[in-house]
């Protein structure tokens, strides 16, 4: 583990760029004094902000580039126009070259994933990367993946995601064998679920180290916190995440409308204000900001594009924790051990038959 945690920031990513990235980094530094930063982007926009934050300035350097990936660039456009030179690419490249331990970007997800795959490549034993995030639940927090890195799945990809998700839960929640559920639908005998069922069999019969497989879970189990890690295919995972966000917003809007309907309800609102503050706090998307790209040769964190400095700092915290608690080593060891055990048991099986 390095003395310092070296964090590469795509300072131009997101809806706001430096005015969010710099104060976000300042906040994160106040929580992690052993962090240091490389900010990639337009020096003329970053420098004045840094000058106003002397502690951060002392822990940072700027690498100038004029090129920034736009929020609406398609992945192929981003690669065409931004490879080798955009702030996003250079932040990833710093990880690739060992000059940084983690890259954080609030840029567009598709472009960041395309560049990360292209530059960092997937880890040995992993075919496809995944995006994982922390989901607030009634019991605390769970990790859900894949939130849209790839569409469609096979059993092996699901098992690998179980390994990667459990490594992330070990890092974040300090558990040794996090419980892992496979997201499924209630109807049992429907064609097309074969990969999910096959992955269930594999996880039950030959569980990878540190994976406590607890079986299938359904959509409403995510919010209940039935499992520490919920594994699913990227299309359904993305739909689930967005639908939950939409439902939470809907509920909050209904509540606001209902509370403003009369003087009495308004008075009730005033009296119960601490309760609503607590509720807002619980559902605050800023708190759990930071999608982790798993399965690559490097740690990459995607912040929400519209995050404020507090939200952006949460994404940096996420990256910091992944490095400090050696996410990549944990994934690598588990995949390696599991592959070896599986090979050995196949060899024994082969000799016996």
């Amino acid at each position: 583990m390095p003395q310092k945690v070296r964090i590469a920031l795509d300072a131009m990513g997101g809806d706001h760029g430096p005015p969010v990235v710099v104060p976000g980094a300042e906040l994160a530094l106040s929580r992690h004094p052993d962090a240091e930063f490389v900010l990639f982007g337009d020096r003329t926009r970053i420098e004045p902000l840094l000058a106003a934050a002397p502690r951060l300035q002392a822990a940072s350097r700027i690498v100038h580039t004029d090129v920034a990936v736009r929020m609406d660039d398609k992945p192929s456009q981003a690669l065409r126009n931004g490879r080798w030179k955009s702030s996003m690419w250079l932040a990833l490249d710093a990880v690739k070259k060992g000059e940084a331990d983690v890259a954080v970007s609030a840029g567009n997800t598709g472009a960041l994933m395309a560049m990360a795959k292209f530059n960092l490549r997937t880890m040995p034993g992993i075919e496809r990367p995944a995006i994982a995030a922390v989901w607030p639940t009634l019991k605390g927090e769970s990790i859900v993946l894949d939130l849209g890195a790839s569409i469609g799945t096979d059993a092996e990809h699901l098992v690998n995601m179980a390994v990667m998700g459990s490594a992330m839960a070990r890092v974040l929640f300090g558990l040794d064998r996090p419980s892992v559920g496979l997201l499924n639908i209630g109807v049992e005998e429907v064609k097309g679920l074969e990969p999910v069922r096959e992955a269930g069999r594999m996880l039950r019969e030959d569980p990878p180290p540190h994976v406590n497989y607890v079986g299938f879970v359904e959509g409403d189990d995510i919010g209940k916190g039935t499992a520490d890690v919920v594994v699913t295919e990227g299309f359904a995972g993305n739909i689930a995440l967005k639908t939950a966000e939409g439902t939470a917003r809907q509920f909050a809007d209904y509540l606001r409308m209902a509370l403003s309907q009369s003087i009495l309800t308004k008075l009730g609102y005033l009296l119960a204000r601490p309760a609503f503050r607590m509720l807002r706090n619980k559902m605050d998307p800023n708190k759990s900001n930071g999608g982790v790209f798993l399965g690559l040769n490097g740690v990459v964190i995607k912040s929400h594009g519209g995050a404020d400095p507090e939200g952006y700092a949460a994404a940096i915290d996420m990256g910091y924790n992944m490095v400090r608690h050696e996410l990549l080593a944990k994934i690598g060891e588990t995949i390696h051990q599991h592959t070896r055990t599986a090979a050995a048991s196949r060899a024994v099986g082969g000799a016996a038959s």
Copy 2:
């Protein structure tokens, strides 16, 4: 259109059976005096309940059977043990034979869909059935399908679902050309989305009658009410539905905890009670109970297994409306017209080239 709307009830379906089905039917009858009922199930359990509801009794007859599909029967078990003789099968069979206009069951979804497919078959031009339901939104209500009838999809299935969903929206919302969105994820250039993109092309270039295609929508658009009809593949649709239910419950639990934290917040709760009643009302799953099986030669409504009489009555209402406003004819005509137009334009295209 028949004089009366004849409704076949699987009286044994659901967690409770007749004690919910009979009072549910009584409620529905009070709203639709032109309905009549055939109740399939255990006569000794149904008769005493009917005797206590003379108005319903006058509009009902009982067809006795000892056999009931269990809530945990797999579809194949249900078919093996319940075909020809279970209350579920007989209710569907009444529709098949033209003795009823619609079948309602709170029995298990997988068994009901398997029996419905086996007995009623899909409509001409439709390969696969879908399950649609009404989803409360910030603007009012939308229809979402497929909620789990089949897994995986192709472009043609998605287009057919757009037609079926728009027919249901015409029936329920009284619109002539409901807006229809295809559920998709934000990342554009990901493999595996081809069917969704292809369906988008087909709907844009050659829109079926009564389908106002508005493009892709994301998970959070469902709750916003961006489109009257949201079309997606069954696995993602089921996950979305359950995740939304889970999130709503989570929000409600947080709210309850937050409001009970101090005397002041409790007092606020008391004052604002009408607001919370309104909120509960808005999010009440009973209100929008009733999944509609679309694409079959007959109307079949699936009530939630745990519904109370009010919820079961909502499912009957749904079935009643589908019959009264001629759902099947609307779907059939649109599919027929669209197929004819498509064939004609292919012929013209062929002659021109």
